[in-house]
């Protein structure tokens, strides 16, 4: 007993050490000040009439559900909520996941040189800074740009004619590598015995994909959908740099509207309230995916 005490604390199992709190402290301090506090603060600001300039920038007050009532009658907000959902469902959930899966499947069976080149190009599109993607797609879809020449309509500015479609495709173009990498990893980890058995039994390629690969990949697919939704829901840079929400409000998704209300119209309180709606939409999507993954296995 006396000997054991002389050797200091026991080393045969982990126990509480004050040094662990010392190491955690800096991260906790930074996260507390610049993450947790702003989140809590946002929960309050969203229900105030705080403004960036003028009298409401100092003596702002708690206004209860006024901001919510205001949203209900605000066409740009309701329209923006639909645009956001359209963008996330069309560009991310459907577009990015389907094209990502297609690429992952095709790349497995491609000639190695095609696989190396096409795989790298898709990944470079993903690694490029968002502003660069915005610029090259802006150039691509301008009147007189490459797209207009390919489609034999040299005078058409596609960012004016079909702005939401173009930003959705640009976003898909940039982010598809993420889903492709996730699905490639998932496909690599599939048990080969099951696939082999299905092939020996004479199942067609499509049938094997639908009845063997898809169910086995379900956890990967759910995780992909969850991450892709969360990442795309708050997409700002690409859309803002290409259109600033225009023409009119045709691409004014909620993240852009938050920025416009808060920093262009100086309505910090209302802007925060809109960002809270964004968080709620994200939570709803996440719950749906998690529930879907639980029920049908």
């Amino acid at each position: 007993m006396a000997v054991a005490q002389g050797l200091g604390p026991r080393q045969d199992r982990t126990r509480f050490q004050w040094s662990s709190l010392v190491m955690l402290a800096p991260a906790v301090a930074v996260l507390g000040l610049l993450f947790v506090f702003p989140v809590v603060y946002a929960g309050y600001l969203g229900f105030t009439n705080l403004a960036l300039v003028g009298s409401r920038s100092r003596d702002y007050t708690f206004t209860g559900l006024d901001n919510v009532t205001r949203m209900m009658g605000d066409y740009v907000f309701t329209n923006g909520a639909w645009l956001t959902i359209l963008f996330v469902v069309g560009s991310a959930i459907v577009g990015q996941s389907v094209l990502g899966m297609l690429l992952a499947l095709l790349l497995r069976n491609a000639h190695f040189s095609v696989r190396a080149v096409v795989g790298s190009v898709v990944i470079v599109a993903w690694v490029l800074p968002e502003i660069t993607v915005a610029l090259i797609w802006y150039a691509f879809s301008q009147a007189g740009g490459t797209l207009s020449i390919l489609l034999h309509r040299p005078d058409t500015d596609f960012l004016v004619v079909v702005p939401m479609l173009i930003v959705s495709i640009a976003n898909l173009w940039r982010n598809v590598a993420f889903s492709m990498l996730v699905f490639s990893a998932g496909l690599r980890n599939l048990p080969t015995e099951v696939l082999e058995a299905a092939e020996v039994e004479g199942a067609s390629a499509f049938r094997r994909f639908r009845t063997v690969v898809l169910p086995l990949l379900k956890p990967t697919i759910v995780t992909n959908l969850l991450l892709v939704t969360i990442l795309n829901l708050s997409e700002f840079t690409l859309i803002y740099a290409m259109t600033q929400g225009g023409p009119g409000n045709e691409t004014m998704t909620l993240p852009l509207y938050v920025y416009q209300q808060a920093f262009v119209f100086h309505q910090l309180g209302y802007g925060t309230a809109i960002s809270l709606v964004l968080v709620v939409i994200g939570a709803v999507f996440s719950l749906l995916f998690v529930r879907a993954s639980r029920t049908q296995i």
Binding site: Q11, I131, I136
Partner: protein
Amino acid sequence: MAVAQRVATPHRKELIVVPYRRVSAAAMATNVVLILLGCFFVLPMLWMLFAAVDSNPDWAIKLPSLTLDNFKDVLARQDAIDSFKASVIVAGTTTVVTAILSVLAAYPLSRMHIPFKRSFMLAVLFCSGLPVSMLIVPVYQMYVYLGWLDSLYTTALFLAASSLPFAIWLMKNFIDAVPAELEHAAAIDGAGTVRILREIVLPLTLPGIAVTAIYTFINAWGAFIVPFVLTYSPENQTGPIEIYNFMGSHGLFKFGDLAVFSLLFSLPVVVLYLFMSRYFSGAFNFGGAVK
């Protein structure tokens, strides 16, 4: 016949999902579809490459009449140099702060007994899912109050805070993968926590730290809305904001200069990614992460 051959070949590493290799027409189709998809990804990029070396570029892709004047133009522009410097400061500071804090936090979370550890990790995971566009308004309000606006370092501090949750998760996974026996042995031999961290944990997790740092750097290098809102002086504009301003000022810039600037600005992250990708291959195994 084909099936029999397949079963009789024990050294096949993986069985393909769609048996295109058996039929050469189908294999052709796979490759052709992929090449077409590849064109869809290459075409928009080509504009930047061609316009950068073209003496008279346009919005459309065309074969350039070669020149290096655009590069000379950009390298002679003070605003371009300044924004590069600002980006290096912001992304560099963000990366250093995030890397140090995430290693310090991830080590005890991986190895030590901490009360409420599970709740803490879940809170961190929840934070990494929150959009920055939700935080930016309250943070702006705080920065006004603290007098922190328009500084590259305070901007980097917020970027570090917003990248910390994911970095802590990433780092914890890397440290979890290092066997703890070496540390136990060192502890029994009388090494203190600091010494164990410096001489055993750091060298063994260096690849993990590199991946976390590069990932953070790539994100901070491309960050737009945070510096866009938190800085306003012309000399504090990072690369993305410089490109955005160029895009908005029709006629005040030359296409070639814009292409060169965005090319030079994009190059570091592409190179860093290539450097990192050999460590990164295992990072996408999400299967079973959500149950």
